[in-house]
Point group: C2
Chain length 605, copies 2
Amino acid sequence: MAMRLSTLFLRTLREDPADAELPGHKLLVRAGYVRRAAPGVYTWLPLGLKVLRKVETVVREEMDAIGGQELSFPALLPRDPYEATNRWTEYGPNLFRLQDRKGVDMLLGPTHEEMFTLAVKDMFSSYKELPLTLYQIQTKYRDEARPRAGLLRGREFIMKDSYSFDVEDAGLEAAYQRHREAYVRIFDRLGFDYVIVYADSGAMGGSASEEFLAVSPVGEDTFVRCAASGYAANVEAVVVPQAPPVPADVVAATPAAHVEDTPDSPTIETLVAQSDALHPRTDGRAWTAADTLKNVVVLLTYPDGSTEPLAVGLPGDRGVDAKRLEAQVAPATWAPFEEKDFAAYPMLVKGYIGPGTLGTGSSSGIRYLLDPSVAEGSAWVTGADEHGKHVYDLVLGRDFTADGTIQAAEIHEGDPSPDGAGTLTLARGIEMGHIFQLGRKYAEALDLRVLDEHGKLVTVTMGSYGVGVSRAVAAVAEATHDDVGLCWPRALAPADVHVVATGKDQAVFEHAEGLVAELEAAGLEVVYDDRPKVSPGVKFKDAELLGVPTIVVVGRGLADGTVEVKDRRSGERREVAVERAVGEIVADVRGAHLTGAPVVAHPPA
Amino acid sequence: MAMRLSTLFLRTLREDPADAELPGHKLLVRAGYVRRAAPGVYTWLPLGLKVLRKVETVVREEMDAIGGQELSFPALLPRDPYEATNRWTEYGPNLFRLQDRKGVDMLLGPTHEEMFTLAVKDMFSSYKELPLTLYQIQTKYRDEARPRAGLLRGREFIMKDSYSFDVEDAGLEAAYQRHREAYVRIFDRLGFDYVIVYADSGAMGGSASEEFLAVSPVGEDTFVRCAASGYAANVEAVVVPQAPPVPADVVAATPAAHVEDTPDSPTIETLVAQSDALHPRTDGRAWTAADTLKNVVVLLTYPDGSTEPLAVGLPGDRGVDAKRLEAQVAPATWAPFEEKDFAAYPMLVKGYIGPGTLGTGSSSGIRYLLDPSVAEGSAWVTGADEHGKHVYDLVLGRDFTADGTIQAAEIHEGDPSPDGAGTLTLARGIEMGHIFQLGRKYAEALDLRVLDEHGKLVTVTMGSYGVGVSRAVAAVAEATHDDVGLCWPRALAPADVHVVATGKDQAVFEHAEGLVAELEAAGLEVVYDDRPKVSPGVKFKDAELLGVPTIVVVGRGLADGTVEVKDRRSGERREVAVERAVGEIVADVRGAHLTGAPVVAHPPA
């Protein structure tokens, strides 16, 4: 039945809502698709629910097509399984914990690895029953610190999560590939720009991992691409290669390290600015920030509340990337060193911290990790651990050492691609899907073993695969809207056609009724603006705002035997003779369904 | 695609699970439909999820057919709206409460009156936008004290809840009727015995209210029926009429009240047993329990934790009905008076409590309510507030008074129907649906007002209507199973046909494959037992256990050109020629779909 605007539970807003940040989110609220119930918690109004269900259907069909079996775990879960994997603690404040009336600890599931693992352990016991892929489309909970951007990072949200179970690593690899292909079909069908990037598997453990990102300037994820090779990776996953050691003869020719006065130079900028005058380079080149070694000390906080400082050494021309560092230290979180932290480590001279006071063997005992671009044998200008002084020609391996390396420096546009094939460009995206080879971590923690063909118990290897179903609605809104409203891809639109009847002429409304009935008889879904006392201007504005792909206006043209058919996205409009209208509209809708929207190329895995 | 038992995520159990109480629940676990994740919290395995989705679809279709608009509220909700209606407190320990990382109070929604009311307040503002019916099919949470009987009373469960919004009372009445008719269609379609009974609206407030009960001996609800009039009511909703006053001449002839020694008679039985000997009646009739007035004192606990004793006076031939009393005192709960309570009220002599120490004006100050069968002017034997003594010929209105009446006495088989038309029979049922006229309680608490045709703000009147979607699966299992397994009505079965291939003959499996493909091509859903090394006996047992309505066995008969078609419920089996099998099976399935299962008559509202 057509959704009639005279009765639909809908109120469109002309003003942006106060509680929305991003343009797509503002439009979703203004167009009456969602409403905020609490921070990060949303109500799906009728139009929004239609879009959500379409995402669910596409995801379900493609999961079924690769042999996935759907089941549904509860959201309210017991503590024990999450204790066994240590996630009860590791999740920290992101986990919604509660107690029942008997004081028993429970949680709201943030993800269900534990439950799937235990279900398979409960039901299956032989290699003959594998491989197995299970999935659910279900509500999840994470108590995000900053539930920004509405549905993009909600505290209650809907995910499709699936898990594969195999005995052999090759089986996991195959299950991963099947999911990858299913995800390509899912995101192709949804019909908007996306890219597949190598991903950091972060706190989940595991190895191979890729993300499907909706390309959008408001995305929270930064990714890199190399046009030459097709390489694409989430910025957290970029692995900067270890710089090769400096040749021994070059190191031998490097002067001994020497401490120099560098008054008032607590930053790289102030240091570089005065170095040419105070201590000119012997090779005649000017000093640059890239010649300096910056040492950044941060405070890590572990899920159990304990803390530890960590020092990161990296070339002075780039900063620490917050998300790359976050990915490296997970499940710990990090924060900049504050005055009270400096007070606890008086050997650290703020602005002049050098390798001399860093490292587990040093006076501070602070773990010290270097960016891999810092080569063995390379010489640096860096802090001398004394106010107003820096040390020059300090050589890694000769004059200082560190405890290891860390992938935490910023990636810059133009940096070489890690595969050596060209240079990187940077862009932003919204994570829509994530696939990864989890391996045996959960199976080991929860003792999921099956008998192999020799009657021996072997630990099962698992893959974990997620699609953000509610997030997809928001991501598509961000990726496809324009200035005046939403612009749904056909596959996700709440309806195929939005019929607008304008004016006061009873004949217009009667004709529009007939048209709606014929379109529905042809199998199309219709929004019908049948409001009797609303001006054409308001109706047109609402139609643009709602974003149904095809808008049909029945109005003054009817006297000449035509209706107007408008493509919401391109803005193209044409007059169509009333007797041909249904046929042409159906052809428009079906044609678009067949071809889909253009999709960016994605590299093979 | 057929569900193949060789790969389906299923393990059937021969033994009853330890964590299930009721026969239908045991079978749901044994047949691999559900598994317990925590007390009152269940995982839906593939077969169970199929059944659940079928209930959802039927409910959704019938709600859409009466113009209901679907939306979806979150389960994680803010405290404020529930504070405004006082339910944050009234729900007591049944409410799952939690705090987010900032210490903000939240709850898991037990029901969504507040959220629907606020949504309408947010979106609509004029009588022209009403009437309106909104609904959702959504996961709800209640921290039940005794999550018994698995899915029947879970702590996480799925409900369809809908709400109607009207300006006029007549509109609410019409919305209620539309829902009643939709519910009749829903439960007719589900295809099992149910009855519609008058219900107590309990803690929800409101007025007219009916329940749809699945008739089952394991039901938690007791209901009464009057065959003569068609009257049917939940036992909590039975309103016993007030007994007419005793004629004045009879009262005048009643002797003055007199206290008698009744040693060792702390119970009605011991009192009646000795009364004939000690104090024979003047009319020559023997004393019976019905001549005594029993005074039961209980302790009420309010949601805010405060307590109050309450005395109930009722004829000694019946007890207090726990659920009727519970319904009357809600949102308070009640418990029997304990020793410590008696210690706090020393004027109450246990076993000999009489009206003399009861009532708000008495020495105890305890509120005292009488069963309506206790007539003004009637004479009673009752406690004399002294150990071993009772008072005889104590007349209501002459010798004692009470603070009011209460509908809390047991209803007995054979009691007169409240409508005067006949006598009552008692039976048990499982609540599947509940409809009621909520009125303006929530709209007033949350200030939901709209402009009427005169431009005046008027408070909206609401109806509230629920179907237990996950409970329906369990209720149908309880109402339809037999000794060897589940017996699904066609509309709810996880598949239409269960094809069993037996033996080791490759030709049998090939033929079965072909049959499955043809049945699927005809639009049927099929479970196919293609397990190669499982004995026919095990396969037959599993087929009975799973409860798909039609079982087709491809096996030895194939040599004679036949397959066996068996009706799971009736046990009827017949040999069908292979060339006619598909046609006959499809006819069986479609025929049964058309006629549905027999349904008991239900009275008009």
